[in-house]
């Protein structure tokens, strides 16, 4: 560490897909303008996901719209803040596999409960209260 020349922030190009080549250091710097852009995009999308509640697309579609915006935001966070865009693809594969299996898990369980809900307790059922 003592022989290492520590670069100051000003020495680095600001547009940077630059690499600090110090012996075996392979540092990928995310440019600040990109981080700021992603931050702004996330704020805008947060506004969109709140604002979109003023519109009714139907009970099911409302959920998908909200989920769609959340997936876009999560993708931005994963790709840029979590650095997946420049990482080894294996890390992205681990993340995507976890997401895939969560989706598979929820999807199959919901499909299953759909079948059972026909037989169990449809919401229209209103039972009389016991006279106590």
């Amino acid at each position: 560490m003592d022989t290492l020349h520590q670069p100051k922030p000003g020495e680095l190009p600001a547009d940077g897909h630059d690499h600090v080549d110090e012996h075996e250091a392979h540092v990928h710097l995310v440019p600040i303008w990109l981080l700021v852009t992603i931050f702004a995009a996330l704020l805008v999308l947060t506004g969109v996901t709140v604002g979109v509640t003023a519109f009714d697309f139907g009970r099911t579609a409302n959920v998908w719209v909200a989920l769609g915006i959340a997936v876009v935001k999560a993708t931005l966070v994963a790709l840029y803040f979590m650095h997946l865009r420049w990482d080894s693809p294996f890390n992205g594969l681990v993340c995507a596999a976890a997401m895939f299996f969560v989706a598979l898990f929820i999807g199959i369980v919901v499909l299953d409960t759909k079948e059972y809900m026909v037989n169990f307790n449809p919401p229209a059922v209103t039972a009389a209260r016991p006279a106590n």
């Binding site: 600090v20 709140v50 099911t60 909200a66 959340a70 990482d87 993340c95 449809p122 059922v125």
Partner: protein, 344 residues
């Protein structure tokens, strides 16, 4: 036997020789463990390990999201009613706070990468403040829920197990139309409104109704006339279509999923399920809040090490990995916020 041991020892010695030849004898950074060939290999190994851990985190939360999905799919009107007790504005503010703290964390990793010690400390302090702000707002929300008997389990006034005092009937006020009131007052007014419009059972324990399809504790009961191959019979398809597209009918017979549902609008079988929304809410946000607290602890640790000058272009692994953890906490909240606060 001894021959085998000798062979193994020879093999190990040979491997050791080969390895030491590959090494650069002049450069051996102190932060590289002996079983790694290079700092780069050590870094990518640590990162893979962190991602595998994050995958298990996603799967753990996935179980809760699964419970949420099943419950919301089966009882959408319960969610549309119960979520009105959550404060959209506080949820949105918390979302912005977490996103901002994720941004400062990403900046902090960059500061560590270029060896800017002061910048790293400032970024991590800002991130910590974000986590603190999030937890303060969350505890304000939790406290309001507790005081209004909208807690989890038996602490929820909609629960069959609830044994506490009922709030007095107050003036009926639509909480969404009175912006002059504070959050607490609005919530209180909403509770009073719901309670005034509700004829809750006088008994404090035990089921409030008998559901003919509920089955017993021992075995589930299936309606006898509907026992048929699932997914094929036209009768089932028709019923599913009716449930999916019919939606909730209000008192006037309208099927508008966008209108505000009051407690008295709920079918009796759904009224006893309102408490479960709060159980799901507290379980999901509680586990998430625990992650925020753990993340804040980790950031403090990294910040102290960073102030001592432990990180630079050659070694910033802890900053990077704690950053990944913090971003995951943000990522999960990005899903929790619309799914819990913005139901419509």
């Amino acid at each position: 036997m001894s021959e085998l041991v000798n062979k193994q020892q020879a093999a190990v010695a040979l491997a050791g020789d080969t390895f030491s030849e590959q090494r650069d004898p002049h450069h051996h950074p102190p932060h590289v463990a002996h079983h790694f060939e290079s700092a780069e290999q050590q870094f990518s190994s640590a990162k893979i390990g962190m991602w595998v851990f994050l995958a298990t985190e996603l799967l753990m939360f996935g179980g809760l999201f699964c419970a949420y999905s099943v419950y919301r799919h089966n009882h959408p009107e319960v969610f549309e009613f119960a979520h009105t007790f959550l404060d959209k504005n506080l949820g949105a503010i918390n979302t912005v706070i977490l996103i901002a703290s994720s941004f400062t964390m990403a900046l902090g990793v960059r500061m560590a990468q270029i060896g800017n010690r002061k910048g790293l400390t400032i970024c991590l302090i800002l991130t910590l403040l974000g986590g603190l702000g999030f937890m303060v707002i969350k505890s304000i929300e939790y406290r309001a829920k507790y005081e209004h008997h909208l807690w989890f389990g038996a602490g929820n006034q909609y629960s069959k197990l609830y044994n506490g005092p009922r709030p007095h009937e107050g003036p009926i006020q639509q909480h969404s139309d009175t912006p002059a009131l504070t959050h607490g007052e609005r919530e209180q007014a909403a509770v009073a409104h719901q309670m005034a419009a509700t004829t809750l059972p006088t008994q404090t324990f035990g089921p409030a109704f008998i559901d003919p399809n509920a089955g017993t504790g021992d075995e589930a009961k299936i309606k006898p006339n509907q026992v048929m191959p699932v997914g094929l019979a036209p009768a089932i398809m028709a019923q599913q279509a009716a449930i999916e597209h019919g939606g909730f009918k209000d008192a006037a017979g309208h099927t508008d999923s966008h209108h505000k549902i009051a407690f008295e609008d709920l079918p009796q079988s759904e009224k006893d399920r309102v408490a479960t929304f709060f159980n799901i809410y507290f379980l999901m946000t509680g586990l998430h809040g625990l992650h925020v607290l753990i993340g804040m602890g980790l950031i403090t640790w990294v910040m102290i090490r960073g102030m001592a000058g432990a990180f630079g272009p050659l070694y910033y692994t802890p900053v990077d990995l704690v950053g990944l953890y913090w971003h995951l906490v943000d990522l999960i909240w990005i899903f929790l916020f619309p799914l819990l606060y913005l139901i419509h």
